[in-house]
Each structure stands twice: as C-alpha cells, then as structure tokens.
Subunit: 452 residues, 2 copies
C-alpha cells in the first residue's frame, strides 16, 4: 500500500456525493478510512465537514475528528455540531485526544462543551486540561487498564476484560495498590500464560520506567526511544498512577520536534505553522530578519573601513563576497551536524573537544582545497600571484573559523542552557561574514596596495 | 525518570569494576539497563566491551548489542567474541536486529557467523540480508505470530501461546491460509473475549493496511503514522506473509530521516554520520562546497561587471553585501517551511499556488520593512536620499525574489522527482546572491552615478 495523499479524483467523488442524497454519501464515505477522510477535510469547507460528520456513525466520526491535525481546527468543527451529537462524539474520543481539541477553544466554548458531557468524562477532561500541552501530563491518556496487585490471575483477567471494553489495545497492564499507587507493570501475555492460582504480585515487573506528569515531551520521547517502550506510565509525586503515554502519541511529538529543529536552524520561529497564513509568517520571521540586518551592518562596517582599498582594487569586493559566502556555507555544514548530534544525545567533555578538533581539521582541509581553486583562478584570470596568495590565505582562514564556530557555538550555548538550534546560525553567520570581509580586505591592504 | 546520558560517575564506576574481580563487575552491571550499558559502551574500548558482554547473562548481552547504534559498530564486537558465545547471543536477537548488525560486516565475516548458527536462524537471517536496508523488507522482523484462519478459538489460543514463547509482545496476530497467504489480522483481545467455539475466520479484520517488502522505509513510516498502527504486516507480491514492522523500529527510521533532512538542507551529504571522523566529513562536504564556489563566482561576475560603479561609489559594495545576505536569510526561511511541509505531505496544485502567493506577500512585506530601515540609515548616516531609495527598492526586490524562489524551487523539484531538500538551498542562494548584487549595483549605476 501507499500512504494516502490528497488527490483530485477522491475530492471530486466526495464533492459530488455531498451534492446528492444521504444514502449515496454514506455509501461513498464507507469506502474511506477515517484518517483518509481527515486528510480530505483539508480541502473541504466547514459546512461540508459538518455534513460528513453528521452522516458518519459516531465511532467513525470521532475517529475522523481525532485524526484531523491541529491546523485543520477540529475544535471549530466540534463547536458547529449539534450539542447532542457533539457530546456523543467526545465520549467516543480518548481523553487525551478530546483534551487536545478542547484546549484549542475559547474558555466559554470549553465550558459549554464540558457542561453537556456526563460528569465522569467532564472531570477527566478537566483534569487533563490542567497540564501544559508539551508535558507528559498533556500527552497522556488517563484511560488505562489497572488491576489491584493483590488479585489472583482469574479475578485480574476478568477485571482486565471488563476494563478493556473501551480500550483498543491492552498490551500493558498496570498493577496498583488500594491508593492507586503504581506498584508494577505486567503484560497480558504473562497473565494468560500463568497458572490459574498465580497472584498478580508474583507476575509484575517492579523495575519499570515511568515519568512524572510535568516532564517535557521531548524527554518522554527520548525515554520511549531509548528503552524501546510501547507505552510509559505517568505518575504524580507520590507515584499515584495518572495515565499512560503510548508510542503512537510519541510519533507525533517526534515529527513536531524535528519540524521545530529544521525551522529554528533556518531562522523561523518554532511556533510558525507550516500551512499558516502570510500574517503569521511575517510575525514569525520579521524579528529574526531585523536582528540579521543588525549583524549585517556590523559586517558591512568592516567594508566601510576599507573604502580606500576597494576604490583602488575594486576586484577585491567581488572576491570578498565569495570568501564570506563560502565561510557561511561551511559553517552551516558544521553547525547542522553538531546541532543534530547534541539534540540526539549529550556529549561528554572529551566528545565535545573531539568535535571541535574534527571541525577545525575539516575547515583547514576544505579551506585549503577551495583556497587552491581560488588561487589558480586569480592566477589565470587576473594573472596576479600576490592576489592569488591573499585569496588562498583568506579562504583557508575563513573556513577554519567557520568550522571552529560552527562546532563551538552550539556546544557552548547548550552548556549555558540556550537552545543551540535557535541562536547558533545567526552568531556563526556574523562570525563568517566579518572574517570573510576582514581577511581579504586586510590582507589586500597589507600586500596589494602599492603605497601602503 | 530522566533519559540516561553519559556521565563521569557511571563511567568511573564501570571502569573501576572492570579492573576488579568478575563478581564485583557482575554486581555493578546488574544495576544498569541494557540500553544504558549500550550508551556507556560509547566511551569504552573494545576489550572492555568484550569483557562486559562475556560476563552478562546471554539475554542481557544480546539486548545490549541490539541497543548499540550502528556508529558504535556492534558487528566488530560480535566478531571479537568466542564463536559459541556469539552464536548464543545472535540466537537471542530478533532476526531483524541480527540482520542489521551482520549486514555491516565483510562478506567472509558474515559467512563465518552464519555457519555457526543453527540452520533455521541462519536461513531466516540469510533471507533478510537479501532486502535493501532502507526498505520494508530491511526493517521487518520475520518472527510473527500467525495462526491458520480456519482454527477455532481454543486451538488458536494454544497455538498463540506456544508461538509467543520467543516474542516479547503479541498484540497483533496474523491469520493466514495453508500457503501462508495473509487473510486478516486480529487482536489478542478479540480472541480472549470471544466465546469458546468461535472460528478465527469470524474474528479477523479483513480490511487491513499492509506493505510490500520493497517499499521505501519513509513510506512505511508515513503509513504507520497516518493510520496510527502499532505494527504493519509485510507481504510479497502474492500476499504471502513475510514479517512485520513494529512502531518502535519506525521511531529509529523517523529519527534517521529527520537527521537526513536537516543535513541535506544544510549542504551535508545525507550519508555523513554525525559522529564520523574528519576524513568522512571532508568527503561528504567538499564536493558541495566546490559547487557552491562555482555559483559564488557566478554571482561575483555580476560585481565585476560594475567595476566602475564600485570604484566611484565604494560604499555600495558594503550595502550590496547586506542586501544579498538578507535575501539569503529570507529565502532560507521560506525554503525551510516549504521543504518541511512537502516532506510531511504532498500538496495539491491549489495548495502549491497558495504557498507561492503567501511567500510572495511575506517577501514583499518583510522586504519593505527592512527596506525602510536601510532607507533611514542611509538618510541619517550618508545623508543621501537617492541612495536610500536605491537601497529600499533593492531590499524589497530581493526579498520578494527570496520568497518566490524559496517556495517555488522545492515545489518544482518535487514535481520533477528531485529531492527538494538536497538541491534547493544551493539554487536559491545563487538566485538571492545574484539578485542581491545586481539590484543595488544596477540601480546605483542608473540613479547615483553622476555622469551616466
């Protein structure tokens, strides 16, 4: 199979069916998976979405809504539905999904929705709304299968089957005491395979990985990936079981974090939505561009300082842009490798030292290689040995600076607690621009100006 | 809990224990999870790794080896072990993990290892070695729980428990016919809850998501994420069940693909390992830098063309670097958002058109905003209204070009089948550099040169 992508044929089919009678629409919709309908929603107006949700069976409708991504605004759709239909759909949703959607709405809309729900659902969702979105608490589902650790196999299995009524997956079961304190985890397999009279206490694993509700979601993702877990329990400060996070929730987190990394390293605010409108994009990018403008003036002030050199050797201003540009490129390379490396795991002092040393060497070699090319071009094109030497030295020097700053700046920022992806690229460009102008201009002034 | 990071205390403890007697070492190691030992291995030489693997219980040792990442070279460690110990460890590994490690070795080493294994394991691993590493076949584990679709509940459950002996997780069960053709999937929950006499045929879901063995791993990740699966079956062209891929394997794929995206967009070959040595880094980055040097000369040739203008208005060469640099920054922003967006999902023609239009608007507004700043600085600092206007126009023009190319180039590359992350950044920098030099120089020549 191939993943489902938006396409004209499917869109046309749905649109035609939307114009026809309900029975026809129902038949067409039955051929699509909920996540496919959610994708098609991207190209359908609110009224069409509403009509489709109203015609789908409640279970399917709630699945479509949980599959819509944040940018499609599933909350707006929920609010537009008849209160009864809406409550039915929310009751079908997992608590974590319902909370994600409701948290995007205005306070009075949240209140309205919660008032219509039955008390248990409402209080569960209210509790989840209290956690920050990017923490373990904000990710977790409070629906878990838990059994008292002092039961025997038979009673536990009955209890598990009873509780699993509303759960899709029940691979991991949590064993708690009478105060809901998490005591251990066990797999459905170990229960099924156990002899009839076995006590749950003897089946549980007591050395398990868990997280507190306020842990950052990036740390949760690291733990799940590091210990190869399919789910992780979330507890409060007294080890009381609050919920669990499953690996498929983490996939979304990882996608989100990678997007943020790519945006930040490119000078875009991490909050900019990929399909956001132009106003949001201007708001996210203009501040960064203005900071860049400041550093560009800093670099340009170096050029102003060498006015006389440029007036006499105009050609040097063409070459200096090449050397500054190449420095920027080489620094971006060193930066990307270093930032990505420290975002995947921390480095020891020795590893950090080796990274800087490596980037110095890479800068030296790549600088000398490109310096030689520039040297020969200057020899052939300008027939000027001295100019060639100046350019060779400037290129090598700037690529060494590029490698050193590209590796050092993110490592230093990380140690002082600043996100290296955000600030690194602006700092290193300033370095390579300044050095890229200063080196050729200063060297040219020293060695090429006749009356110096 | 926090994720485990390399730290001095744990390293010192292990190193001290390595110098002591075996009982002491065993005791210290027992306090670490296999994935933690794998992380500590990064800082331990081969002999130390060997000693630890030999002292650990086989099951734990095989887990440590499966947790080592590719860059730590688990194959080298396997080869260094006594053949008997080695075979024991490999037999404990999942087939897919064993295959990943063995595939990294030389052919004669692979042969040596496979000859020592029992026939079933060897032939399973041999089969997996035949699939390309980055396809569904290369990711899958051929160990699955499968039952004949024509069994009843009791026989099926017995069979499942028998097969689950060697599996950690058995949430998904595959129903096949007598030729191993995949007929449906079912959950352990549906079997447990079914009445005693139910036929498996009546429990299976027949409309399921599957992949062919040669599907690219990125597509597999998209499917698992799109349909929220915990596992996906892999079949051959005749729907014969070959294995399955679980969501935790996909987490590694996603991390890998994000790393590749970040590296490619920064002009680093996707094959460069983050912790690779300087030789590999030079090999990966130098070709890209040389291509960049070529485009830099292209842009610089524009500057050469305006020699006279620069000699007379030396200050313009400082301003042109600012305008070209700002264009590069704005284009990188537009590029990052567009590349990430199309790497997460395809765009319809209308969405593509809207993206370009949005980036044009963003370029216009951000260009005008920065153009105003540059205008006022030229008025204050150089007291030159004409210069201010030239710079305003050049800045606005170049940021519009930056937005248009930053959005259009990746969209066009994607349509013609070229990976937009690889080639985009070099193409747009060429555009913004050329326009960044051409616009201010040409405008200055037109409006600022006295004797034009």
């Amino acid at each position: 199979m191939e993943s489902f992508e938006i396409n004209k044929e499917d869109l046309e089919r749905i649109k035609t069916a939307l114009g026809g009678d309900d029975a026809e629409l129902e038949k067409v919709l039955a051929e699509y998976h909920a996540s496919e309908i959610a994708i098609l929603f991207e190209q359908l107006p609110l009224e069409a979405r509403e009509k489709i949700i109203n015609i789908l069976p409640t279970e399917e409708a709630s699945e479509v809504i949980s599959e819509m991504n944040e940018e499609q605004d599933p909350g707006e759709l929920l609010i537009s539905l008849h209160p009864e239909k809406r409550s039915e759909i929310i009751e079908e949703l997992d608590y974590d999904d319902a909370t994600d959607i409701i948290s995007q709405l205005e306070e009075h809309e949240q209140k309205e929705i919660l008032e219509d729900l039955d008390e248990e659902d409402a209080s569960n969702i209210r509790a989840l709304l209290g956690y920050a979105e990017d923490t373990a608490g904000g990710l977790m589902n409070s629906q878990v299968i838990k059994v008292n650790i002092y039961l025997d196999k038979k009673d536990a299995l009955d209890e598990i089957i009873r509780q699993s009524e509303e759960m899709e997956e029940f691979n991991t079961i949590y064993a708690v005491d009478e105060f809901d304190v998490l005591k251990g985890i066990l797999s459905i397999k170990s229960i099924i395979k156990a002899h009839a009279n076995t006590w749950i206490e003897n089946l549980v694993i007591k050395d398990f990985v868990y997280v507190k509700a306020d842990l950052d979601q990036e740390e949760v993702a690291k733990l799940i990936s590091q210990y190869n877990l399919t789910a992780i329990p979330v507890v409060d400060d007294h080890m009381k079981l609050l919920g669990r996070i499953t690996v498929d929730d983490i996939i979304d987190v990882m996608e989100e974090e990678s997007t943020e990394d790519i945006l930040k390293i490119s000078g875009v605010s991490e909050d900019e939505e990929l399909s956001g409108n132009w106003k949001a994009a201007v708001k996210s990018r203009l501040p960064w561009l203005i900071i860049n403008l400041g550093t560009a003036y800093l670099a340009a002030s170096i050029i102003r300082h060498f006015d006389t050199t440029i007036e006499r050797i105009a050609i040097i201003s063409a070459y200096m842009t090449i050397i500054a540009g190449m420095g920027g490129n080489a620094a971006t390379q060193a930066l990307a490798v270093t930032v990505r490396r420290i975002s995947l795991s921390d480095l020891t002092d020795r590893q950090a030292y080796n990274t800087v040393l490596k980037e110095f060497l890479v800068g030296l070699i790549n600088g000398a290689a490109n310096g030689l090319i520039v040297f020969f071009i200057a020899m052939i094109y300008d027939a000027n040995l001295k100019l060639g030497l100046v350019l060779f030295l400037a290129m090598t020097g700037n690529l060494i600076i590029a490698g050193l700053t590209g590796a050092t700046i993110p490592l230093v920022l990380k140690r002082v607690g600043i996100d290296p992806a955000v600030a690194s690229s602006i700092i290193i460009t300033t370095f390579t621009d300044c050095a890229g102008f200063l080196l050729p201009l200063w060297l040219a002034t020293q060695f090429l100006l006749p009356h110096h």
